[in-house]
Symmetry: C2
Subunit: 353 residues, 2 copies
């Protein structure tokens, strides 16, 4: 744990400065809002559904927005992580194709499928084929800053998705909510960044508990479901560790029975419950009882969101998870930025053609 | 492993005869089809969306049907595992409320929420409050046979959901597909049931490989995603073991990087890739390359579906998983039927009121 307070150790291991990229998240929301206003998209229409097509770090923004809007949008926001869009896509669908690089093969394929199905499309990318095709075919597009791993652009991508849907459906209040996200995250940054020592830094403390363990991230509500997924993928990519996530109330119907076997895994786990801080009475009670039961077989703890609005609550938990995954990378002795196995996989996939 | 060929051992441990309930699955599809015809539901309308509300074993049928219909239905099939239905639910939504017991608190709450939002509702249950309310308020309902754990009624529930949606959207060919499911599963049963010894029984062999390991179930396509989830929950409830599931192509963008840490978990894992047997060239290639890469850190194997139609393919993998979870329960020395921890949880939740 003392390594986490050693700037020399961190600087040496974090060669590509992931800590800076994570620390830039608070600024992304206002920057993306500004770009969105400047892009002057015209999306007025009567859409019956929204589909967000993307993969990995480019898809999770769709999940976050879908959860955030799930109780006040008159249409479903469906996230597709595959080569095709569903058969319900028609000219009344708003299809948001998101690929940070602009070159993700699944997303380009889903985008073409959406064109065939005559969806109304918005592309979001930092460049690449997706932007080129959008330009040449006069398809509306939004550009996000280039030069970072896609997972570090979550603020840019989520804001772009949210404001596109907000424009299409005339959702009010988003600007205020987005401003709060920036404010809340800026305050959190002072507490979570590497300069702040372990004893005052919750992200470092949590990483210390996860080290050499299998992390279980449990969402307590629909709202936090995509946050649990984000924690998991950040732990995968930054800390190069396996991670498991699941959701309440569903896990009370099955997964809770699984605790105890395999014995070595149960005892080598650390369970984090994500609490948005504004749960209904029923879900609050479920969280407490579930946590108590699992505590007999594994270490458990709850992490509560900061902020007032739901968007700030969601992203406060995302931000905490990003830092935790960073410190876990440090404790695992790995450079958080390179994802060599994905590069290898892409190379092998190309060889097959 | 020899215990799996010992009828005395199995009979003694499997007190409530889970092996019989699993073995009854092949018959459920035709029985439920017959009941459905007799119920003479009237669901002709122009629906813009379908929402299936349920939990655990009552929800997974919704996922299977949603995946099965994802490339030929003009509306999304959205599965809700929570107390509320999404805000897009209106009088143009077909809401299917599924609770095997008829008394699941989340489902009853979502059902009431759906009524408030004026959805067109069909209830599916074996009795309980849901059936009572449906009767007294003249809401269409389907009854499935009572007296088994909800997870064992997956054929009844899935068929009821599928045929309701099929009727509402005039989907053709479902009867033929359902007949094939029964035929394929009947043939599989001879191979998978306890009488057939380990050396000729793939389910027993797979269970042997999973024993004392953390099972990872990897879906290779949209179609098999809910099957991976089903495997996981059956392993939770029957074998009382933890289990992890995930999906291609998404896991190629994050989880694949996590293999290797924690070291003890990676090496104590067994990875099963579910292959529907009719993958696109791109996904087939992905499966092969992903499997090869992970094989350097864990045991891996592919399991291929049986059958010709997609529905038979899906349920052939479900059926295999049900038997695997049963044999894993035997190897773990646990009675597959009782789920004491869920009973305890429900008791504690009630105490809180």
């Amino acid at each position: 744990m003392e390594r986490l307070d050693d700037p020399g150790y961190i600087t040496k291991l974090d060669k590509s400065k992931m800590r800076m990229l994570i620390g830039n998240l608070p600024d992304q929301f206002s920057m993306a809002s500004k770009s969105f206003q400047e892009a002057k998209l015209n999306l007025k229409a009567r859409f019956s559904s929204v589909v967000v097509a993307g993969m990995g770090g480019s898809a999770i923004g769709g999940d976050l927005v879908s959860a955030y809007l799930s109780s006040n949008l008159p249409a479903p926001v469906w996230v597709v992580r595959n080569y095709e869009v569903p058969s319900f896509v028609t000219r009344n669908t708003l299809l948001i194709a998101v690929s940070y690089s602009g070159n993700t093969e699944e997303t380009l394929s889903a985008f073409e499928d959406g064109k065939r199905k005559r969806a109304r499309i918005v592309c979001i990318a930092s460049g690449g084929s997706l932007t080129e095709i959008a330009k040449s075919e006069s398809i509306p597009f939004l550009t996000v800053p280039r030069g970072m791993p896609p997972r570090c652009a979550i603020g840019f991508l989520s804001t772009s998705i949210l404001l596109s849907i907000g424009l299409a459906f005339d959702v009010s209040g988003l600007t205020t909510e987005l401003e709060e996200v920036g404010d809340v995250l800026k305050k959190m940054k002072n507490v979570l960044e590497p300069d702040n020592p372990v004893k005052k830094n919750p992200a470092k403390k949590i990483a210390g508990k996860l080290a050499h363990k299998l992390p279980f991230v449990y969402s307590s509500s629909r709202m936090t479901d995509p946050v649990a997924r984000r924690w998991s993928t950040q732990i995968n990519e930054n800390a190069k560790s396996l991670c498991h996530y699941s959701s309440l109330p569903e896990l009370d119907h099955n997964e809770i029975v699984g605790w105890g076997i395999p014995r070595e895994v149960s005892y080598a786990s650390h369970v984090l419950f994500l609490d948005p801080g504004n749960l209904s009475e029923k879900l609050r009670r479920r969280l407490a009882v579930t946590k108590e039961i699992i505590s007999q077989m594994a270490e458990v703890e709850s992490l509560t969101a900061s902020g007032t609005g739901n968007l700030a609550r969601l992203f406060s938990l995302v931000f905490l998870g990003d830092y935790v995954s960073f410190y876990l990378a440090m404790l695992n002795g790995v450079d958080p930025t390179p994802i060599e196995r994905i590069d290898l996989l892409k190379k092998r996939l190309k060889e097959g053609h």
